[in-house]
Symmetry: C2
Subunit: 235 residues, 2 copies
C-alpha cells in the first residue's frame, strides 16, 4: 500500500472515528483535524482527543472558530435539542440541529491544511443513509466541493494533482459502519455521539444522534461499549 | 431598487472597499465580514474597521481564525515578502504571498452568516486582471464555489433560493476600480494595501500590492490620497 498523507475531519463521534480507521487501513498517514466551534457538546471534543491519541495519528490540530457569532442552530444556540423523535421521522426536512454551512467551513480548513502538507486526500465521515437531513452531507454536495477545491488551490491548479474528498461511509447504514469499525479494531467506548450530554459525556439517549447510534448497534447485533462505560443497561 | 441584505468580505484594502461601495450602490444593506487570520499586516484590519464605520454598514463582524496553524505563506509566516517586482512579472506563477485556501475559508464563513441572515448575496472583491496569480481569484473558481454553496445550504436546497457569489470587480483593471470607487465617493485614504506596512500602516511602496496600487492610481490619472496622508510624494 502506498504511504500518503491525509487530513481526516475528526469530531470524536462514531462516524468520524470509523472514517479515521478506514483511512489508516487504506495506508494513509493521518493528520486529524477537530474544531472548537461553540458546540454545546464539548464532550465530543474530549472524545476526539482520546480517539486521536489511541489511534496514533501523526498530528491532531484543534482549531478555534466561533460559529456562535452567526447563530442559527440548536447545537450552538439556546434552541432546545429535539428529543425522543422516531428515527424514521428524522430524515424529513432540515432539523434545528443543523449548523449553517458547518461542513463547508470544516472542509475549507482541511483544504488549507492539506495544501500546506501536500496531501491530496481529505476524509470526512458523512453519511447519506442514516443521517439527520443536513444538506451538506449529500454526495452531490461533496462532489461540488471537490470540484471547487481543485480550482481553489495551488495543488489543483499548478501541480497537476487531484484533491479528493473521501467519504467512505457515504452509502453505509449505521449498523454497517459499526461492523466495519469493529472489524478494524475501533474502540467505540472512546467516541461520543450525544447532542446534549450530561456529566463526563454521559449520553442522554433521547436526542436524534443517541437514537441513531442505538439503532445502529442494535442492527449490528453488538453492544455499545459506551453504555457499559456509564453503567447504562440498554432497554 | 430592492432592499436586500448582503454579506461583503472586507479586508480593508482598495478592492474590497470598492466592492462594498458597489454593493451599497446596488441597493444592498451590507453586513461586512473581516478576519484576523494571523496576517502580518494588521494595519489592513484597522482599515477595515475605519471603512466599515465610514460607509455605514449595518454590522461588521471580525472573526478570529488561525491560518498560521497550517503555515505556508509569506503573509502569515516568516517568509520574506517579495519586493520591487515588476508589475508585469507578477502574474506568472503563484507567489509566496498566497495563503492556502484563504478565499475558500473566508467565503465559507460568509456563507454561514448569509444563511443565518437569510441573505442570498455574498460580495467578494477579487479581480482576474490586475491580480497576483492566486488560483482562488479566478472566475471559474467562483462559479464552482457558487455551485457548491447552493448544494451546501438550507437556503439553496430547501427554500428554492439561489445564493450568488458576486465579484463586481472581476474583469476591471485596477485603474477602472479606482475610477469606479472614486465616482461612488470612496475615500481611499481609509484603505490599506501594503503586504509589509510600517508604523501606523505606512505603505512600503515596494511589495506587489503597493506597486499594483500605484500603477492603478497612475492609470486612473488620480493621486492616491493614502500617500498624501503619510506625506509621501509620488515619484
Amino acid at each position: 500500500m502506498p504511504v500518503r498523507d491525509a487530513v481526516v475531519l475528526l469530531s470524536g463521534g462514531l462516524d468520524s472515528t470509523t472514517t479515521l480507521a478506514v483511512a489508516q487501513a487504506s495506508g494513509f498517514i493521518v493528520y486529524a483535524l477537530s474544531f472548537r466551534y461553540g458546540q454545546r457538546h464539548d464532550a465530543e471534543l474530549a472524545s476526539a482527543v482520546h480517539v486521536a491519541r489511541a489511534m496514533g495519528v501523526l498530528e491532531h490540530a484543534i482549531i478555534d472558530i466561533d460559529l456562535r457569532r452567526f447563530g442559527g442552530s440548536a447545537l450552538t444556540d439556546e434552541i432546545a435539542v429535539p428529543k425522543d423523535r422516531d428515527v424514521n421521522e428524522m430524515a424529513t426536512g432540515i432539523p434545528v440541529t443543523y449548523v449553517p454551512a458547518r461542513n463547508t467551513v470544516f472542509l475549507s480548513f482541511a483544504l488549507a491544511w492539506a495544501e500546506t502538507l501536500g496531501a491530496d486526500d481529505i476524509f470526512i465521515g458523512v453519511n447519506a443513509l442514516d443521517y439527520s437531513g443536513y444538506p451538506d452531507c449529500r454526495p452531490e454536495y461533496l462532489r461540488a466541493y471537490e470540484a471547487m477545491a481543485n480550482l481553489a488551490t495551488k495543488a489543483g491548479v499548478e501541480d497537476g494533482r487531484q484533491l479528493k474528498i473521501q467519504a467512505p461511509l457515504m452509502r453505509m447504514t449505521k449498523a454497517e459502519i459499526i461492523r466495519k469499525g469493529t472489524g478494524l479494531g475501533v474502540d467505540y467506548a472512546l467516541t461520543s455521539s450525544c447532542y446534549d450530554p450530561g456529566v463526563a459525556g454521559r449520553p442522554c439517549l433521547e436526542c436524534d444522534s443517541c437514537r441513531l447510534r442505538a439503532k445502529g448497534f442494535a442492527g449490528a447485533g453488538l453492544p455499545d461499549p459506551l453504555l457499559a462505560k456509564f453503567g447504562i443497561h440498554p432497554v
